[in-house]
Symmetry: none
Subunit: 414 residues, 2 copies
Amino acid sequence: MEKRNAIIIILDGLGDLPVPEFGGLTPLQAAKNPNLDRVAAAGACGLVLVAGGKAVESDLAHLILLGYDPVKDYPGRGPLEALGIGLELQPGDIAFRGNFARVDENGVILDRRGGRKIPEAKELASSLDGIAVEGHPGVTFRAMHSSEQRLACALRGPGLSSNVSMPNNVRTGVRASECVPLDGTPEAKKTATIVNAVVRKAHAILESHPANKERASSNQPPINALLLYGPGEARTVTSMKDLFHVDAACVAGNGLIKGVCKYVGMVVLPCDGATGTASTDLDAKVEAVARHYKDFDVTLLHVKATDSFGHDKCCEKKKAFIEAVDAAIGKLLGKIDLAKTFLFVTGDHATPCVVGNHTGDPVPIAMAGPTVIRDHVTEFDEANCAGGYLGRVEGKYLMAIVLNKLDKLRKFGA
Amino acid sequence: MEKRNAIIIILDGLGDLPVPEFGGLTPLQAAKNPNLDRVAAAGACGLVLVAGGKAVESDLAHLILLGYDPVKDYPGRGPLEALGIGLELQPGDIAFRGNFARVDENGVILDRRGGRKIPEAKELASSLDGIAVEGHPGVTFRAMHSSEQRLACALRGPGLSSNVSMPNNVRTGVRASECVPLDGTPEAKKTATIVNAVVRKAHAILESHPANKERASSNQPPINALLLYGPGEARTVTSMKDLFHVDAACVAGNGLIKGVCKYVGMVVLPCDGATGTASTDLDAKVEAVARHYKDFDVTLLHVKATDSFGHDKCCEKKKAFIEAVDAAIGKLLGKIDLAKTFLFVTGDHATPCVVGNHTGDPVPIAMAGPTVIRDHVTEFDEANCAGGYLGRVEGKYLMAIVLNKLDKLRKFGA
């Protein structure tokens, strides 16, 4: 068979539920998306139960869709964020995701994201990078700014463990929880002690940081706390190349998703305009895909803001962003040949605007390409895709469908 | 998210197959059920493969639909029937389901249900309750009438086991099978010996019972045998509250289903007219649901006679009963607000009239409520529901769908 390429477009949190303002339609149903409809009409549709009907985080969802085991193969959010933004890790390093936050004099959280937009975030992160871990020789701490209020941090040194409790502090009005060892090993106790000391020291450094003095002079509240969560030990996993015999690449702006892609051995393609936010340069992203997809068996294009608008319950903005993505996909369709290329469009989970969080509802999928059976679905949305050729398919089977189309699936029993 | 409630209506043995008298339609297709169609049209439909395509008993089917493991969590029919009708059990008790039956002088079964309608059943059961278990000090036997020919029985005492063979004697013209130990333990041997002694003693008591003398005087055959089956050791299981963080209740007339519901920690709501038969008071049952469902996250309404008519191959009666249930659901729809409440309607298995027993065929499901995607299905039956949003869904995923709608599903990876 002639060599084919596949492009997989994932709209984060695409799935949704009836919105009263839209007369009971979902944002995707309410949106004008002629290009997504074109893909649906050209090929086959269905609904993806990404985690078998469970609500799921985006990093796990992507691991599942890429054919990995979300329990066995998941290293934790910290190592994935670090990988994604280029904080170099060695096996045994313990990495965390971090948030810059604002706390009062008793450590009570006032804003767990420090207002989200923090111009000084990079500078503040630098001031925490390499701070001394007193009393624990050989242990170093690193910090690197990711996006908005987010950082990746890591501990390196002897006798550390990731088996410590570090929940994401999502509530305001309470003190941030301390790091607690989850087993009786000296490693877990040592790590918890170090994490708590680092967090205290970070608080002191941030309190007296010149950037916060400048913020005070312009009546802005201080960014005075570091919240750490998602601990995990740096590790590797069998690459997509070794597992599925495919060369794979991605275009993404979000650090965590870039981390997942690097983790499974995908090439993260350069794309300056990709920010992982609503202001991302969608044209630049599809241009990056169009320029490189023929060099890879599988190219993943990730778009984040659909999810963010779902979290923020902004159904109009979610609808408008879907329309913007649709326009960009229209440009991509002008650059690829569906007689030779497979195109998959789906989401990684539902983030319904009426809920404001991830749910277990399925997400629509459309696929088109040279050997795709054409079904009767001509509109790409939650209700119409339900009647398509693919039916309801669990997320863990997506890669099998892709590999099958690429003729990369080993024959069972052969 | 605002607190929501879910109502799940289960029509026992609802699923069916084409009936020649109906020109190849199923009883549900042939029935006029405008209210079930209304639910279908308002929301999403599908087909439930309750046990993944296998034929399944009603108690197991309900356990599966309620999110339990039918192998690991199943205690046996005896303990469930006992729980359902209020025969109090302690851990370690061995419970059985029983039938009053009629045998000839050689113990050959003439009618395994003693004609089903036995006015003297309660009196006969009392005469067996507490009969002495000779030669086994400390072991007691209890019997309590359930419905029609059915009883729940239990042994209590030291050194008993439920690992004994006690099949349901469904054939007439043969002797009832003896109870046989299924392993070499003294406990299994002792239990088998006691069961066989109790059954012989019950035969003697029933033969000489005044009620049978009265039956003889009016030319009715005697009820002279006790058939025991479904042995199981009384045990507990994690409640729905602990497992899923939901408060759950049920309205049911059938003892076994009430037993399943109590077993998983549901509140059995009072409903005098619920009999578990075709003469059940459907209006009283929906009234009980309407009165209480707001106090619970999940309220289950069980209706039995659809199954009984399937067993008896009475397709006209099954159709008519479906229409009666539909009318009752119409009254329920007048009392609940689908903008705030989730309504699920389905069956626990198929009992096709042309077969007269449970089969593995899927059963239709419709769900409606505030965040349900509306699909194109407008008629609630086996063929139309197949094209709906839910597609084919395994029974074990029903509770995940319900919990997802109620926002009770924990996020995977969080």
